[in-house]
Symmetry: C2
Subunit: 223 residues, 2 copies
DNA sequence: CTCTGGATAAGTGGATACACAAATCCAAAC
DNA sequence: GTTTGGATTTGTGTATCCACTTATCCAGAG
């Protein structure tokens, strides 16, 4: 689960929903790179529907910041500038800080075990899929889910979706960001103490510290 | 300026934009109360267009949480439960905290004068319009604008739009929330010291402290 | 060769049309 | 009087169509 498929609209068999999930996945996985022009008719063709539901999916993606619609000029995948990457990380830092603060008192032994498991998957890049990003996201999402704040969780998921393509570039560019592994250990440790304020500040710091490295890689690939 | 009219889509003369702003305003001002069913055809009629652009406006509003779309069952104005009101205030507290932290070093004397002016308008309920909410929003928006973080500002505006109807109920129910006036003085004072961390925590506290009073009034009017 | 402008193609926003789902209403059965 | 089930109405989701805007391309002027 990604937290985004559960949007305000109940997911169900509508064409709009299908189009939304289809484009969302393509953007998150990087198949549709920032700047790519999205032509409703083409996408509609790919998944067998007319372009109306695709247009509506674009609206949703646009509000979520994943896509940019300019009047009469179509829809493009919304890249982030370096400043915007920092901005998204700043927002994530305080929102996930809040989520973790609320989650801390609700975690028990089994939950820590699950978090450890996700951490392990992350460290070995997971089964042959060569994917560090997915378990990383799952770690954060699993943690945030204990806040029991649906709107908060969804908002965090949206912000994550916006940076996910760049995380993948980072992962492929440098090797697996090794410093993050230590970070996550520290987070787990703080959580175990049950000190909500400390857990909050640790995760805030963790997220903010990730930003410059990511921004550097992205800035580099743009020259 | 509300911060919402400047959405991801450049505002311009499209029908969708017009429909969006029309419904947004109606919800914010309370003309369309939570739970009200929104029938695309009717709204389209009111502003002279077909229902397609109205539907697209609904999608946007839905993503912003102001409206709820259930498949094949139409669109209703999304009320907030008491828990959700708390949730929105929690999110606002950390996001506005961040915004104010970033804004603090950028404020100069003229800006304080403007903030004082907005505060004064707020205290006397503004010129006969009997409206405390608008200058209150403007105070917060003006302050946040100095953070220079477009996405952050927009997100805060969205959260504010969701609670604005309830602020109006509060304002009409009780008289002008007088405790808030003192709060805002304290905020200004903290800002003047230039201590970003202190300003951040003061505004976080201010926002969180507002929630219970509002929740109480709302819970009351629901029985 | 480069630049300009206008024809042509491509694509967007919006309106209309139609099939289907859900809600409503009403009458018959209990 | 209440309940049940089916016609009718209302409204939603999607496809198609049209008008208009923007992008592309190409020929002629410089």
């Amino acid at each position: 689960m990604t937290g985004l498929s559960t949007s305000e609209t109940f997911s169900s068999g509508t064409a709009e929903e299908e189009a939304y999930l289809y484009v969302l996945k393509a953007i998150r996985t990087g198949r549709l790179a920032p700047g790519t022009r999205l032509i409703p008719e083409d996408i509609a063709g790919e998944i067998g529907m007319s372009r109306m539901p695709v247009r509506e999916a674009f609206r949703r993606l646009s509000t979520e910041g994943l896509v940019l619609i300019r009047t009469n000029r179509g829809c493009v995948v919304a890249g982030l500038s370096v400043e915007e990457i920092y901005e998204v990380f700043e927002m994530r830092s305080v929102l996930e800080g809040l989520a973790v603060r609320l989650a801390t008192p609700r975690l028990d032994g089994d939950d820590f075990a699950e978090l450890e498991r996700l951490l392990a998957r992350m460290q070995r890049g997971d089964q042959a899929s060569d994917d560090w990003v997915t378990p990383h996201r799952e770690f954060h999402e699993y943690l945030c889910s204990f806040s029991r704040r649906p709107k908060l969780i969804r908002q965090i998921a949206r912000l994550h979706a916006a940076i996910e393509p760049y995380l993948r570039i980072w992962f492929h560019h440098a090797e697996k960001p090794v410093s993050a592994d230590e970070d996550h250990r520290v987070i787990l440790e703080a959580l175990r103490t049950g000190d909500a304020a400390r857990a909050e500040s640790v995760i805030e710091r963790h997220i903010l510290d990730t930003a410059p490295a990511l921004a550097a890689v992205v800035g580099e690939t743009r020259q």
